[in-house]
Amino acid sequence: MKSLKTKRPYFYILPALLFISLFIGYGIFRAGVESLGSNGSMFVHYTALLSSEEVYKTVRISLYVTVTSTLLSILIGLGITRLLYRFFTSVKWKYIVWVPIIIPHFVAAYLVFILFSQSGLLSTVLHGVNGFGLPFPLVNDQGYIGVILTYIWKEVPFVVLMLLPIYQQIDQRFEDVVRTLGGNTWQVWKTVELPWVGPVLLETGLIIFAFVIAAYEVPALLGVTYPKMFSVLVYEWFYEGSWENRPLAQALMIVLTVVMVISSLIIITISKRWKKQWAKEKIK
């Protein structure tokens, strides 16, 4: 009986674990195999990536779009949560936050398109003012502004939903202590909120970053043909011509996977340590 009891959690976990490790493990393994060169020079496709000007531009634009979208979503989401978390406990208002969540990314992209494209609503309003509409494109533009706007609209509610339960757990008396000791809002943030919110903020940022850097749906609609973001370039390579660029596509995705796994492990470790350290201090 005892042995069953200690083994029980493993039984609960096994089906999903098998499914995930099989899919990810085997998928990445196959992609890795297919990314290798056939005769002699195993890493020929990887060296091809390194010397490609297009790949370099893709890395740059992908990082720029991802970092900007992630940081802005986190900052705006954090700001909204901090201001409104007391309000959201009683009021049913919080359900409006769910609206962008149930709208698919490509529909959000269409919303950005009808509002901010050259023939969109903003341009139309400006046309009434200046006679020609938007002076420069905001959608399908070199700066990927439309893509970033879409991600912000979609991810800010996600940040709010991740942070809301944490903020509602924070004991109000901690803030009162800091305030009575003469602390200002910055000190309340640093000593009361950050230890609770920080680890979750890191994880949320990581999830958004990982999603945006590898997502195809939005940049395929609102991006430009040059430079392309990772997934758009890879998707194109994957289906181009007689599949001759497939190994190149697999190689680029393997590189991205390796980078994402390593940076995820680092960030999750930091987040876990942070949580643990705080738990210890609470006991003291």
């Binding site: 029980r8 959690p9 493993y10 609960y12 976990i13 089906p15 999903a16 499914f19 995930i20 899919f23 990810i24 085997y26 998928g27 990445i28 196959r30 992609a31 890795g32 297919e34 909204i80 201001l83 409104l84 309000f87 208002w93 409006i96 936050v97 609206v99 962008p100 149930i102 709208i103 698919p104 490509f106 529909v107 269409y110 919303l111 009808i114 509002l115 050259q118 023939s119 609503l121 046309h127 009434g128 509409g133 609209w153 339960p165 999830i207 850097i213 749906e217 609609l221 990772f230 997934s231 890879v234 994957f238 596509a249 697999q250 991205l256 996977t257 994402m260 796994v261 995820s264 999750i268």
Partner: protein, 266 residues
């Protein structure tokens, strides 16, 4: 005075948030029924349901709605079946390797799913899973399962073990405890998990295109070529369909949950 100011500030922020979220949706709905609302006309020329009628009379779209809903509902059910036990195990037990496992369960949304789909492509063809619903359903598990596990874990964390223990001490069998106590008490989490995995499944283009091989025609497969087509009314109406489907699903789910609780109570 300061209090009044603070409430004024809250109201302004809330109104701004409301505008930020709902304004684009209002424009979208208006767009689906307005003719000639294009640059440089600031207002629609006239209103018509033509966009909706064109959408309704397209047999490809009606067919795709069925396919999409079948896939999404299967994804939801598989998510509940796989994620519930994992969340229970992680939340209510301490065991070796738990932190490592938690990280592994997060991996599907950290590793590019495109890489996995491309890697599995040939194998899926070989196994006969490609170009079929089942292959698409399975690949849609990747972007959904981590969220489901996380949301159920939050539910189990909040529930604690006291309810289950109480039922167990009065001699109720483990499986019965689950169906009569745990499952109904997790209703809010089931609702969130179902809604989110449904929406995520609905939002997949690249994964469906690769594994479905262009044969499994879900709504996004049709939406993408539509996006740059001329008729804005039709695309706007099409976009709204994507928002209606989760709402309908939620309503049906609500009815099922009511019936379930009713049966269990007897």
């Amino acid at each position: 005075m300061k209090r009044l100011f603070k409430y004024g500030l809250y109201t302004i922020i809330l109104l701004f948030l409301l505008l930020f979220i709902t304004f684009p949706v209002v424009v979208l709905v208006t767009k689906s029924i307005s003719a000639g609302w294009t640059f440089p006309h600031l207002f629609p020329q006239f209103f018509t349901l033509r966009g909706w009628e064109l959408l309704k009379s397209n047999p490809e779209i009606v067919e795709a709605i069925y396919t999409t809903v079948i896939i999404a509902v299967s994804v939801v059910m598989l998510n509940i079946i796989f994620a519930l036990p994992v969340a229970k195990g992680i939340s209510h037990y301490h065991f070796r390797g738990k932190t490592v496992l938690e990280t592994i369960f997060l991996l599907p949304i950290l590793v590019p799913s495109l890489a996995i789909a491309m890697g599995l492509h040939l194998t899926m063809i070989r196994l006969g899973l490609s170009d079929k619903l089942i292959g698409v359903i399975l690949i849609h598990m990747l972007p959904t399962l981590p969220y489901s596990i996380r949301m159920f874990k939050a539910g189990f964390d909040q529930l604690g073990i006291k309810w289950e223990e109480q039922a167990r001490t009065i001699g109720v069998k483990r499986l019965r405890v689950f169906w009569t106590v745990t499952f109904p008490m997790l209703a809010p989490n089931i609702r969130s998990v179902a809604l989110l995995s449904y929406v995520i499944s609905l939002s997949q283009y690249a994964l469906t295109a690769i594994i479905g091989g262009g044969v499994v025609t879900t709504l996004p497969m049709i939406y993408y070529p539509f996006f740059n087509s001329a008729d804005q009314m039709v695309i706007a109406a099409f976009s709204i369909v994507f928002a209606i489907l989760p709402i309908l699903f939620l309503m049906v789910l609500e009815v099922f949950m009511k019936i379930y609780v009713h049966i269990v109570k007897r």
